[in-house]
Amino acid sequence: MVSLMGLIASAGPLLQWSWVSSERWEILHFLYQHIELTVLAVGIGLAISLPLGVLAWRVPALRPPVVGATGVLYVVPSIALLSLAAPITGFFSVTTAEVALVSYTLLILVRNVVAGLASVPADARDAARGLGYTAAQQLVRVQFPLAVPSLLAGIRVATVTTVGLVNVTAFIGQGGLGQLIEQGFSEDFNTPIVVALVLSVLLAGVADALIVGLERVMVPWAHKRRVAT
């Protein structure tokens, strides 16, 4: 990490260290806001997509409309989502930013919940039924644990995507690190933009690594199986 920063610094005026050190609290504040917006979006997205995914999986008739709708919505640009929400939920509000960010995570997460549940082997379901599990018990004790890898894969993509998208919510006064980008652009000043870019990439990388670590802890068998084959 240090050598990466050094590399950019040696490229000349792209990064002015004196600004970074004098503005460090401001930078940390934006970084914190960035993390907050991301965690909130993925958290709410998860809370909505889990029941929605289960519903779409339990009621096969609902699956094509739910999965299809998420597919279509995924094509709608994030900035358009932001702009569609702004007139309704207020121009400079966290709510507007979250509406857009959460919608985006939904599109990724719902798909993965359904795919994860659908990928549970029929044998495992039969065995659970044979043991006398009720439908709810099957879901909680068998299907969910087995769907975890797919779910975590979805959370990974959703988190990394959201980290990038948060920058754009700077247009409505949110944006975390995105505010540094706006500042750098309006002042013709490289450093804030480079700081935002580097921290954004690092944040995505760290979040990704954390979720991969979580997967190793939660579903060690999935990892072992992959290594074995």
Partner: protein
């Protein structure tokens, strides 16, 4: 006058379409910018990815570079480029900055999919082609590339949709495209303008997605077409309760 009436009025006003910097100008700008970026990404990314897939070398570089590039926020890259003196000096600096940023956005999906597409060609097919006396270059062009076409086209489609959507940001660096209404609407808290801009961008993105899906089907050799429809991971079909 209700909100929807105002929206209807906005779209019914001729000068909003044909005026200087109007919807037509913006649409042309957005399509031009996107076309340049995607074409460049295909010209660079597809051969590079295919060659790497063919030779089997460089997979580590491809996968990691593509992942890292995806994490770079386009907004940061775009603004950073736009304030560089060398680009500011140009007459259409906004376009150049945006084209480079969109190119960077489009290359990873094209490159990775070309790589995986060629890489995943059945080794038996490759051996058969070699046994028929084809040279390595012929194997790549006449066997591997046609078989990789569905995946490559899927990568181009992803890239195109992402670029068309993200090109909206170019309005922020003073390039005239469909982002104009959105950026100025958000800044002035004009809900009608913001909404109309968003509708236009969303419609264009959906249209491009459909067009690319059609192009993908047309460019895919008929014999290869069927396996391509398989859902990746196989999760969403069958296996239902």
């Amino acid at each position: 006058m209700g909100f929807l009436n105002q929206v209807a009025h906005f779209f019914a006003t001729g000068s909003n379409w044909t005026g200087s910097g109007g919807i037509i100008d913006q649409l042309v700008g957005q399509v031009e910018l996107s076309a340049v970026a995607i074409t460049a990404a295909v010209v660079v990314g597809a051969p590079l990815g295919a060659l790497m897939g063919h030779s089997g070398r460089g997979s580590f570089v491809v996968v990691n570079a593509a992942n890292a590039a995806r994490a770079v926020p386009s907004f940061a890259l775009l603004t950073l480029l736009a304030i560089q003196p060398a680009i500011v000096r140009l007459q259409d600096g906004g376009f150049v900055a945006a084209a480079i940023a969109m190119f960077a956005l489009a290359v990873p999906p094209v490159l990775t999919n070309a790589y995986i597409g060629v890489r995943e060609v059945d080794p038996a097919v490759r051996s058969a082609a070699l046994a028929m006396g084809m040279k390595p270059g012929q194997v790549l062009r006449r066997v591997e590339l046609p078989l990789a076409a569905p995946l490559l086209m899927a990568g181009v489609r992803t890239a195109a949709v992402e670029v068309v959507a993200t090109a909206t940001l170019a309005a922020y660096v003073n390039f005239t495209d469909l982002g104009n209404y959105i950026i100025s609407g958000l800044a002035n808290q004009d809900d009608v303008e913001t909404f109309c801009g968003a509708v236009l961008v969303a419609a264009l993105a959906l249209l491009v997605d459909l067009a690319m899906a059609g192009a993908g089907r047309l460019l895919t050799p008929a014999a290869v077409a069927r396996p391509a429809r398989r859902v990746p991971g196989g999760g969403l079909r069958g296996a239902g309760p």
